[in-house]
């Protein structure tokens, strides 16, 4: 006959099996959702300098400075299988050296329950916009896109890129003065 411990063990095991099933249901209920939404991105001030990048070499590399506007509403993305979003702003451009350059300029974590309606005006970037050479000056087509990584309770961690991007060009002359 079963002892107290055997009955306790049976209940714990069954509870964990049910929990696994519930977690899978949570994952399955959100797996096919479309998490894309609109984002409005704009650049305000764009400047390029030519300064030594001491973290890489002593050669002078192009360093871009920009401020940007960002408006988007991510409230609808949050559901019972989204714990937080990791947003990041990527600059993509082509240089003679590289077919594709991707530089992350800014990021932000939005936890569930926090304000997910973003309206930033004239924001500074968080990270340096270094090129690995001299590809930024007069670059005719740099595209900013907003992407988010969804951190779920269970399941995949998808990367989703917003609808709406912004392309701009860098000025033809280096800025020499301090800003």
């Amino acid at each position: 006959m079963h002892s107290v411990l055997q009955r306790g063990n049976a209940i714990v095991a069954y509870t964990i099996s049910v929990l696994a099933f519930l977690t899978f249901t949570c994952f399955a209920s959100t797996f096919f959702l479309d998490y894309r939404t609109n984002a409005h991105i704009n650049t305000v001030k764009v400047v390029v300098k030519n300064v030594p990048d001491y973290s890489a070499s002593r050669l002078k590399n192009d360093l871009g400075f920009l401020t940007f506007d960002l408006q988007t509403n991510l409230t609808d993305i949050f559901n019972w299988n989204v714990k937080q979003l990791f947003l990041y702003l990527t600059a993509e451009y082509e240089t003679p050296d590289n077919k594709l350059n991707q530089v992350i300029l800014w990021d932000k974590i939005i936890l569930r329950g926090e304000n997910a309606v973003l309206d930033f005006k004239n924001m500074n970037t968080k990270y340096y916009f270094w090129d690995d050479g001299n590809g930024l000056r007069a670059n005719p087509n740099v595209t900013l896109t907003l992407t988010w990584n969804i951190i779920p309770n269970a399941g995949l961690l998808p990367f989703v890129t917003a609808y709406g991007s912004h392309s701009f060009k860098f000025p033809n002359e280096y800025t020499v003065s301090r800003m």
Binding site: M1, V4, A10, I11, Y14, V18, L22, C26, F78
Partner: protein, 96 residues
């Protein structure tokens, strides 16, 4: 020590079956309700908490050998008095 040993820990066979069935029903029911409620308010943590409540309730109701699980004890044969000769031979005491 005698007091501790005198606490009953076993159920009878039918009580055991009822306890297991009851625990499965309770946990499944709480899991289903938790799933529906968690989906409605879009909070998976609530689903887990409701399942946890079902676990606690099932544990309280079916782990201790409550009297309701001890209603049909097995009727063991009475112990034979020592010294009586069994028909099968001389190995008395060793054989059941």
């Amino acid at each position: 020590m005698d007091f501790i040993n005198s606490i009953p820990t076993h159920m009878d066979f039918e009580g055991q079956a009822r306890a297991e069935k009851l625990s499965r029903i309770i946990i499944t029911l709480f899991g289903a309700v938790g799933l529906i409620w968690g989906y409605i308010i879009q909070q998976f943590s609530q689903t887990v908490y409701i399942l946890g409540a079902g676990f606690v309730l099932a544990a309280l109701l079916t782990i201790p050998p409550w009297p309701m699980y001890r209603r049909k004890p097995l009727n063991w044969q009475k112990a034979r008095p020592i010294g009586e000769h069994s028909p099968s031979g001389s190995k008395k005491g060793k054989k059941k």
